[in-house]
Symmetry: C2
Subunit: 267 residues, 2 copies
């Protein structure tokens, strides 16, 4: 039951209809007996600065999640940034302090790695191919490197973006082999799609599935559809698959804790 006392949380995205954060975080609030609600805000890139300006003024706002396409631009709009988020170059969770300051953290990466581990896929020592070089990809690369992968290759349509990201991640995880490469999964233990390809029915596949061998784990971060074309075709070729929702399931409590004013636990 929402009343005038209810603490407000949000998720800002464009599009927004595919997000599952409201369901997951509202269930968490209910389980914990918090008088809080998380609602969707459909806002395009042009509108983002004004949203940040306004959200500083909303005194019952605890914080908000940002997702596609805002994770990189949102970083510059925060008043304070957690160290890990700064290293990643993106934020996905923003806490509003009582004085209105907005503090950004990034939980996609640790959420994704926690999701892998929860499903029995510890990435330590594995050879990983990561597709994409946006905000979510950077967070996942950062967390995979810290989780001790054997090697990490970042493939992206614009190769220069993959190179920049590989250099940044390598600098923050000395001793891990991180490099830019092409979207060919041959010889990898794990492929992670961190592009947005797969959200729309007519999207092309992010790689040529004919090159997938049956031992390679194929992981998504897309939540809707749950079974993307990539996952469906990988499964048909005998590959184990890992759903996008596991990333959110594992990071929900981390995001809620951060927005509630807990210690800055993002990395």
């Amino acid at each position: 039951m929402i009343t005038g006392n209810t603490r407000l949380f949000g998720i800002v995205a464009d599009p927004v209809d595919q997000v599952r954060t409201p369901q997951v975080l509202n269930r968490l609030f209910e389980q914990r007996g918090h008088d809080a609600v998380l609602v969707p805000f459909h806002v395009g890139a042009d509108g983002l600065p004004r949203i940040f300006e306004a959200f500083r003024q909303i005194r019952n706002l605890g914080g908000f999640i940002v997702t596609v396409p805002h994770k990189v631009e949102a970083l510059a709009l925060c008043d304070e940034i957690e160290d890990a988020a700064r290293a990643i170059g993106a934020v996905n969770t923003i806490r509003r302090e009582p004085d209105g300051r907005l503090v950004g953290g990034m939980f996609d990466g640790i959420g994704f790695v926690a999701g892998l581990k929860a499903r029995g896929h510890d990435p330590a020592g594995r050879r990983v191919l990561l597709l994409g070089a946006g905000g979510a990809a950077a967070a996942i690369a950062h967390a995979l490197a810290l989780a001790g992968v054997g090697s990490l290759t970042i493939a992206n349509r614009t190769l220069s973006k993959a190179r920049e990201m590989a250099e940044r991640i390598a600098a923050s995880a000395p001793g891990v082999r991180v490099e830019a490469g092409v979207a060919d999964p041959s010889g990898y233990d794990m492929v992670v799609n961190a592009t947005s390809l797969g959200m729309r029915p007519d999207d092309p596949l992010p790689l040529d599935v004919a090159t997938l061998s049956s031992g390679t784990l194929v992981a998504e971060i897309i939540m809707k559809p749950e079974m993307t074309a990539l996952l469906g075709q990988a499964q048909a070729r005998g590959c184990p698959v890992h759903l996008g929702r596991h990333m959110l399931e594992e990071q929900a409590a981390l995001m809620a804790g951060f927005m509630a004013g807990g210690p800055g636990a993002s990395r």
Copy 2:
């Protein structure tokens, strides 16, 4: 169940904890099977312009209610104003058009009059003393004049504000006697408290209850506490009383219809 598809509505107020609009409108949405939710936004006067700027950008926002202390200031921030709201000089309900334009309407007055009628207190022909000259008072004065009261006297701490309001209302309801006066209920059939006095436990009474005679109806628009000190003392003197919540009960459907894009029915 709130999802990424849920249409967003709000109430903007300071303070906000006393509002009952979330309960009333969310129940209405549920009864009608609308995938919509109304949440509180606690925003002070300083923050209001930035809220309007941001709300234009939120594509899934259907509209929002504004209440104390924003009803007058919000009028100037809208892109378009219903005729009645302009005559009243205040808005309480704002619809967001698909292109982001914000259209303001005012439903306090017709909600209040509908609430009176629903409880058997038709104001037609009655001598009414109205306390207060803010946005809600102006709306109530306008609707009472259109409902054909016998006479309307407006009392306010700052008498000049009461005089200005009386002139404005008289101009929009020719043939009804509207004037400024003092907060003495002797000789009136009905007294309406449209000041904010009574929201806080240590507020002074808006009039001297010793001057109330037992036949005078005493009406509130304050929702919390439901039984204000004024109503309690009036009841103890044998006066019939009329609760603040009746105004909201009757106007909820009007506000929801206006925000959903229905015809501009405010007056």
